[in-house]
């Protein structure tokens, strides 16, 4: 499996404040990596470093390929002009291929259409962005990212505005992309979804605290001190893990019925 993106011993400071300290990670093709940790841990900063939006003070970030055609970035706060149509926004994803002057070719139109379908916004193609809900706009942003034909997707809190159904949809979309060889790094607050990733990277105070498979990282003894709250992990029969904050195995009212989940 090829390494699409890697960071080696990266440091970054905003002025005098050191925000990222000696972080090393790599992303392989077909992998979904969840970047987790409490607020202020530096997750967004790491993502921006991976996206090439920030230059590390120390260390190195490597990408296999030219950045705009390889790495697509979805910011945490969405800024979409309300008088544009969905299609027009997604078309901007073709900029790395079309440049500043060329018109879009039929080939580009096809890719735009395809991206909208995969992000499930195809039916909204000619709606004005200003008329969409928060979740729909999130998916439009994803469609734009997919239109870049990226090998790497970097998402900052992609599930923030999505309802349950659309969170599930998003994850299945990401899985589908991974199946095509795309690597995904997503900052996640929702640990239950993080549990479905291929790997978790736990950050706290700018440092790497743990990385590995979700089962190895999502442990109450590791997470509780970092998140500063009690939490319990419950395992559903099909193997999925549910992370329950504010509870311990002992205090959970359904502990006795655990097996029936």
């Amino acid at each position: 499996m090829t390494i699409l993106l890697d960071a080696a011993h990266v440091d970054f400071s905003y002025g005098p404040r050191r925000v990222v300290c000696d972080v090393t990670l790599s992303l392989r093709s077909g992998e979904i990596v969840a970047l987790i940790g409490p607020n202020g841990a530096g997750k967004t900063t790491v993502l921006k470093l991976l996206a090439g939006l920030l230059i590390p003070d120390v260390g190195r970030i490597g990408v296999s390929g030219s950045r705009p055609r390889t790495v697509a970035y979805l910011a945490q706060a969405d800024e979409l002009p309300s008088d544009w149509s969905v299609r027009e926004v997604v078309e901007l994803g073709r900029l790395p291929y079309v440049g500043l002057f060329r018109d879009l070719a039929p080939h580009d139109d096809r890719i735009v259409r395809d991206a909208m379908e995969r992000a499930k916004v195809a039916l909204l193609a000619d709606r004005l962005v200003g008329t969409l809900s928060g979740g729909e706009r999130q998916r439009v942003t994803l469609a734009r990212a997919l239109a870049q034909e990226p090998r790497v997707l970097l998402l900052d809190e992609p599930t923030a505005h999505l309802d349950l159904r659309h969170r599930v949809d998003l994850f299945s979309t990401l899985r589908a992309e991974a199946a095509r060889g795309v690597g995904v790094v997503a900052v996640m607050h929702d640990l239950t979804f993080a549990a479905q990733a291929d790997a978790c990277v736990l950050l706290a105070d700018g440092r790497l605290r743990a990385e590995g498979r979700p089962g190895d990282v999502l442990r109450p003894d590791l997470l509780s001190p970092i998140y500063e709250t009690d939490l319990a992990l419950l395992h559903a029969p099909d193997g999925r893990v549910v992370v329950v904050p504010g509870a311990t195995k002992e205090r959970a009212p359904w502990t006795r019925n655990q097996e029936s989940l």
Binding site: L53, V71, Y73, A75, L80, R87, L95, F101, M116, Q148
Partner: protein, 361 residues
């Protein structure tokens, strides 16, 4: 569910929006041409449409010296003036659209970075110097009236100087580039305005001259002025057009634009350079005319596509039309006396802008 989506054919909508953009441009162009002829045919002195068109065709063929009477007025005064209004309006409209795109702020206008204040200071200096230098030069060939024509040169330099000062000041700031620029623009503009006011009051004789210049004056536009302004205006607007798609991408946010391959620093520099060039060309010959750069992009956005590849040319055409009409009003409302055109654009522009806002997106 997903499979049905793939099979259903998606109607090809891009043409409709793109066609709308193109349609807006063509339509605006036609309207502008009509408005130019209409405006040239009206003014202080009664000239019929036929005489106007006759003057136009004769003049265009190079037989301007054969024109007499009102036709000579039409060719020598009206057409250059109306065309200058169109050029200045185009500069202001496209600069305004570019600034609104760059700062992602609907209240941005071409004068945001201190261009107007710098130009006003330059013009005031030119007016002050012209009074003092003339006696000294009265014995030399320079007495041949070069001093009022110092104004375009001085005001261009002033405008450019103001922008450069704003940029340097912004770089020193710690905030994000866009807010830095806005703040610096306000500071530089304020300082220059006080300097200008001080100079104006010191030389009360010049007060009226500077004041009337600063309200906008198209009355002395000649064919040669037009020739001088055109290259700068065209380069400025051309530069803006080159960055049109970059401006589009910028609407998604600076970070997103960068990851899509836009060099935001270059974009910012290019757009500021282009807008300053076009605006300085406008201000240098004609003074400071407000509202056109603010209102034209908003109006065109509502009519046509918001993409800058359509919006920039459309705003140029819209701004041109707006200013030609405002100049027509300035020349005819109290004829044969004239209102300063800057007063007319503000009086019309204000309520028009309000109406645009109330109509909603």
């Amino acid at each position: 569910m997903t499979s049905t989506l793939v099979e259903r054919p998606i109607p090809r909508m891009p043409t409709r929006r793109r066609a709308r953009g193109l349609g807006t441009i063509v339509g605006s162009g036609l309207i502008l041409a009509a408005v130019i002829v209409l405006s040239a045919a009206n003014g202080a002195m009664p000239i019929t449409l036929r005489e106007t068109l006759h003057a136009l065709s004769r003049g265009a063929q190079g037989h301007a010296s054969l024109l007499e009477g009102v036709e000579a007025i039409a060719w020598n005064l009206r057409f250059p003036r109306v065309l200058m209004a169109a050029l200045v309006g185009a500069c202001l409209g496209s600069s305004g659209a570019a600034m609104q795109g760059l700062f992602r702020n609907p209240l941005a206008d071409p004068y945001l970075l201190g261009v107007a204040s710098g130009a006003a200071l330059g013009a005031t200096l030119a007016f002050s110097l012209s009074g003092h230098l003339e006696p000294a030069f009265s014995e030399t060939p320079f007495e041949k009236g070069t001093f009022p024509s110092l104004v375009p040169l001085f005001s261009s330099v002033g405008a450019a100087g103001a922008v450069v000062t704003t940029l340097l000041l912004a770089r020193a700031g710690a905030k994000s580039s866009t807010s830095s620029l806005l703040l610096s623009g306000v500071v530089v503009g304020g300082v220059l305005v006080s300097l200008t006011t001080y100079l104006m009051l010191r030389d009360a004789d010049r007060l009226r001259a500077v004041f009337s210049w600063s309200l906008g004056n198209l009355a002395s536009s000649s064919w040669s002025d037009l020739g001088h302004a055109l290259p700068y205006a065209a380069s400025g607007m051309g530069l803006l057009y080159a960055f049109a798609r970059g401006l589009d991408a910028l609407q998604l946010g600076e970070d997103t634009a960068r990851t899509v391959g836009v060099r935001v620093g270059t974009l910012r520099a290019g757009v500021i350079a282009g807008a300053s060039l076009a605006t300085a060309a406008a201000v240098a010959f004609v003074g400071i005319i407000g509202f056109v750069g603010l209102v034209a992009p908003h109006a065109m956005r509502r009519i046509g596509a918001p993409h800058h590849r359509a919006l920039l040319p459309a705003s140029a055409l819209g701004g041109a039309t707006l200013l030609v009409l405002a100049d027509l009003g300035a020349r005819t409302v109290i004829r044969p006396a004239e209102l300063p055109v800057g007063v007319v654009t503000t009086l019309i522009g204000g309520p028009f802008f309000l109406w645009l806002l109330r109509r909603g997106p």
